[in-house]
């Protein structure tokens, strides 16, 4: 069974590429366009990994991350934060709030695919 990945980002221009890339890599891809949609999708569809943008309407990526980590049932969900914020303080906050990894935009899609594969492989 293919692994399930949720792409949570409000910018259609990045979603289209990520969706295409991940499908090509053989994953099942879900899409959420804001923080609330992302939380709902995580609770409903239980993806293995979430590509989480920080700057989103309704709920920010930080809030989504915190909510997921607070929910026992969703503990296993891997979170990879994607953000245009390049400051060290943002990175520290993301990791502190429970993100498993953090990538700063712009990034190479090959690295992203590699990272996703590594994170899913590390899962028991």
């Amino acid at each position: 069974m293919s692994r399930k990945i949720l792409v949570a980002d409000d910018e259609p221009n990045i979603v289209i590429s990520l969706e295409y890339l991940l499908k090509r890599e053989g994953y099942t891809v879900l899409v959420a366009r804001d923080g609330q949609e992302a939380l709902d999708a995580i609770a409903r569809d239980r993806p293995d990994l979430v590509l989480l943008d920080v700057m989103m309407p309704k709920k920010s990526g930080f809030e989504v991350c915190q909510a997921v980590r607070a929910d026992e049932a969703l503990q296993a969900t891997k979170i990879l934060m994607l953000t245009a914020k390049g400051r060290e303080t943002d990175l520290a906050k993301g990791l502190a709030l429970g993100a498993d990894a953090y990538m700063t935009k712009p990034f190479s899609t090959r690295e992203l695919a590699q990272k996703v594969a590594d994170m899913l492989a590390a899962q028991p």
Binding site: N13, S17, L18, K105, P106, T109
Partner: protein, 724 residues
């Protein structure tokens, strides 16, 4: 001849009686020792009478002689010293006395001489002292004036307060800044906040100031050399103020060292800086995060486009993403450039200057330096530049100089116009044009003036102004010109600069005597009249019957603090009465329907006036009339005036009960007060204030010292019993 001294008469009578008694006794003794026949012989009628007559005459002569001798002695040893004593008393009391005339005995003359010398010595000492006191006080006054003058010219806002937060001194810059803090700037002009004797806590939170004071005191106790405190605060009007606080030390406080008698506040309105920084942040943010996202989107799309097996439909969609993001980034950069050139000012300190002033200066300097006629054309008179005038003048003079020296230009012309958000300054000449290369060299060469040179180039100066400069040809009119684009002062800056220029008279912006004045716990009623702050006001109205709907159409007011009239801190506002002004009243106050048409209503003006009058005693001439109008507005405006009220009409009646008229004109005439602008509210308020200032010492002479006494005396006058 004066009546004989009583003591002298008594002494003489006693002596006469003693003599008579002695004579009588002698006679009795002689009589007792005589033989009977001898008594017989003596007792014969004839000789006995003669003998007794001689005896009485002898007695009278002796008494008279004694009287004369006693009087002489008395005059010499009692009368003369007594006179001398009186004269010495005069000498003691008088300020510039006649010297004593020496008379009487040698001892007395000597005494008088010695007293004269003492008096001389005393007078010399007195004069000396007076001279020294005068000198010292002149020195102190001079120092005060110098300090006040210095403060007035400072470009930083300075406010000095005593420990109670009462303002003792402020400069015009502070006045302007407080104007920006005022919630009713158009009405009270900030004078309700900034004024001598007003509380600084009307602007800044008391706790905040107290905290800063405390930390300053702590530092002082620890022996810090320059104990000062800083805070940033938001005012009620939403302005951001950075405040630096320094102590005014109390030199009398002794060893403790932590004695502070007041504090100095230096204020910076950082609202604009803050806004500029926010804008800068925004732009930076737009550049970084915005671009990062776009770049990420493009890179991802480009990566996808790299797959050889991409379906044509997807290929088109990824290309679309790239095109869209490129367009978005271009747009963002265009906007960034526009906003940064508009909004971000150059960091070089520039000053606001009226364009016309700058042009006049440039004309004069070029004419004197190049010895050529310079004309000014197309001058926009209302233009305010934001420039560094010295170097900019250097640039114009330098360019004009090279034109004259190298191209033999005969006539020069200057032109200043507005061009959008900037000013356009042209240096025009007719005749030969030059190559672009020459212009470039002129622009980049360090400027030279005869033998003098500066390290600055034209380009440097233009860049300092965040401006631009180029060379243009007007082929039709055979002219060429250098054009400079220069920044304009913002509207706020223009306003401030214009107001600073209008401050022609030396304002009464300080009163150091308030340092001594502590906050008095006692109620206003028990305070000395001389220690009170007064708001002297007058209203103009549509008519004389407030109860029949007549309304206020103008309020004017001024302040008296510590016995000084503060003309600069006045209040004047027309009020739209919302009804017709009765034609009969127009000739009196000169206010027409058109004049009040665009003015605020009483509901806006009264709160501003209330703020202006806070913490003071209200004073008006025939105050009952004006108070009636104010009271009738209480319900509509929610503003009530609970201050005590004094009426100059009644006070005048207290001081001059026998005068026929207590009309304002009559009183002003009595006191010889020059009346300017009567029957404007402010004009009348100023006259009333002058009247009050002259009434106060007269009241004091009648033993009326406190506000309570003044009010009671006023109530007791005949006029107070008349119903208005």
């Amino acid at each position: 001849m004066k009546a004989p001294e009583r003591r002298l008469v008594l002494a003489l009578a006693a002596a006469g009686l003693a003599l008579a008694a002695w004579t009588g006794l002698s006679l009795a003794l002689v009589w007792a020792g005589l033989a009977p026949d001898e008594r017989q012989a003596l007792g014969a009628d004839g000789p006995r009478l003669a003998w007794l007559g001689w005896l009485a005459a002898g007695w009278a002569a002796a008494v008279a002689g004694l009287g004369w001798g006693l009087q002489r002695l008395f005059g010499r040893y009692v009368g003369a010293p007594a006179r001398l004593q009186e004269e010495v008393r005069v000498l003691l009391a008088a300020s510039a006395p006649q010297p004593l005339a020496p008379h009487g005995s040698a001892e007395l003359r000597g005494l008088a001489g010695a007293i004269n010398e003492l008096a001389d010595q005393r007078d010399r000492l007195r004069q000396d002292m007076a001279r020294q006191v005068e000198q010292a006080s002149r020195g102190v006054q001079q120092e005060k004036n110098r300090l006040a003058a210095l403060m007035a010219e400072l470009t930083q806002s300075v406010v000095v307060c005593n420990l109670d937060g009462r303002i003792l001194l402020y400069n015009s810059r502070a006045r302007l800044q407080f104007r920006a803090l005022s919630q009713a700037p158009a009405l009270a002009d900030g004078a309700e906040l900034m004024g001598i004797g007003r509380s600084i806590y009307a602007v800044f939170d008391r706790q905040l100031v107290a905290h800063a004071l405390e930390s300053m005191q702590q530092r002082l106790r620890r022996g810090a050399g320059r104990p000062s405190a800083q805070f940033v605060t938001t005012t009620r009007a939403g302005q951001l103020i950075r405040v630096q606080m320094a102590p005014v030390r109390d030199l009398d406080a002794g060893e403790a060292g932590a004695g502070i008698s007041g504090f100095v506040l230096m204020l910076d309105n950082v609202t604009q800086n803050f806004q500029e920084e926010s804008l800068r942040d925004q732009l930076l943010h737009g550049l970084t995060e915005g671009s990062r996202s776009s770049l990420a989107n493009m890179q991802a799309a480009a990566d996808m486009l790299g797959y050889a097996d991409l379906e044509p439909e997807m290929h088109e969609r990824f290309l679309g993403v790239v095109r869209e993001e490129v367009a978005a980034m271009s747009g963002r950069i265009t906007e960034l450039v526009q906003r940064s050139t508009q909004g971000l000012k150059t960091r070089w300190p520039l000053e606001e200057m009226l364009g016309a002033d700058f042009m006049t200066a440039a004309q004069r300097q070029i004419e004197s330096h190049c010895r050529r006629a310079v004309t000014v054309e197309g001058l926009d008179a209302g233009l305010w530049l934001k420039v560094e005038s010295f170097t900019l003048l250097q640039v114009l003079t330098y360019l004009a100089g090279r034109l004259v020296d190298e191209f033999e230009v005969k006539f020069l012309q200057l032109r200043l116009q507005r061009a959008g958000q900037r000013a356009q300054l042209d240096l025009i000449w007719s005749g030969q044009a030059m190559s672009t290369e020459t212009v470039m060299v002129w622009e980049m060469d360090p400027m030279r003036f005869g033998s003098q040179s500066t390290p600055l180039t034209v380009r440097d100066v233009v860049e300092r102004h965040g401006g631009e400069m180029w060379f243009e040809r007007d082929r039709v009119r055979h002219r060429a010109f250098f054009r400079f684009l220069l920044p304009l002062a913002s509207e706020q800056e223009q306003l401030e600069a214009a107001q600073i220029m209008q401050n022609d008279s030396r304002p009464e912006y300080y009163d150091f005597d308030l340092f001594q004045a502590g906050e008095q716990a006692s109620e206003l009623d028990d305070r000395l009249l001389s220690s009170l702050s007064f708001t002297v006001f007058d209203t103009e109205t549509t008519g004389l019957n407030p109860s029949e709907g007549d309304q206020i159409i103008q309020i004017g007011a001024t302040r008296i603090v510590n016995g000084r009239l503060l003309r600069q801190e006045s209040f004047e506002q027309l009020v739209n009465p919302g009804r017709l002004i009765s034609p009969a009243s127009i000739p009196i106050h000169g206010i027409t329907q058109e004049m009040v048409a665009g003015q605020p209503g009483i509901e806006a003006v009264l709160p501003a006036f209330h703020a202006f009058a806070q913490d003071s005693v209200l004073v008006a001439h025939n105050a009952a009339f004006d108070m009636k109008f104010l009271q009738l507005q209480e319900a509509a405006t929610g503003v009530a005036f609970h201050q005590p009220v004094l009426d100059t009409l009644l006070l005048s009646a207290v001081v001059h009960p026998n005068q026929e008229s207590h009309r304002l004109e009559a009183i002003a005439e009595r006191f010889n007060i020059t009346v300017l602008g009567r029957h404007t509210a402010l004009g009348d308020a100023l006259v009333t204030a002058e009247v009050l200032l002259r009434l106060l010492p007269l009241l004091q002479a009648q033993g009326i010292h406190t506000l309570r006494q003044a009010r009671e005396a006023a109530q007791a006058t005949y006029y107070a019993r008349i119903q208005y």
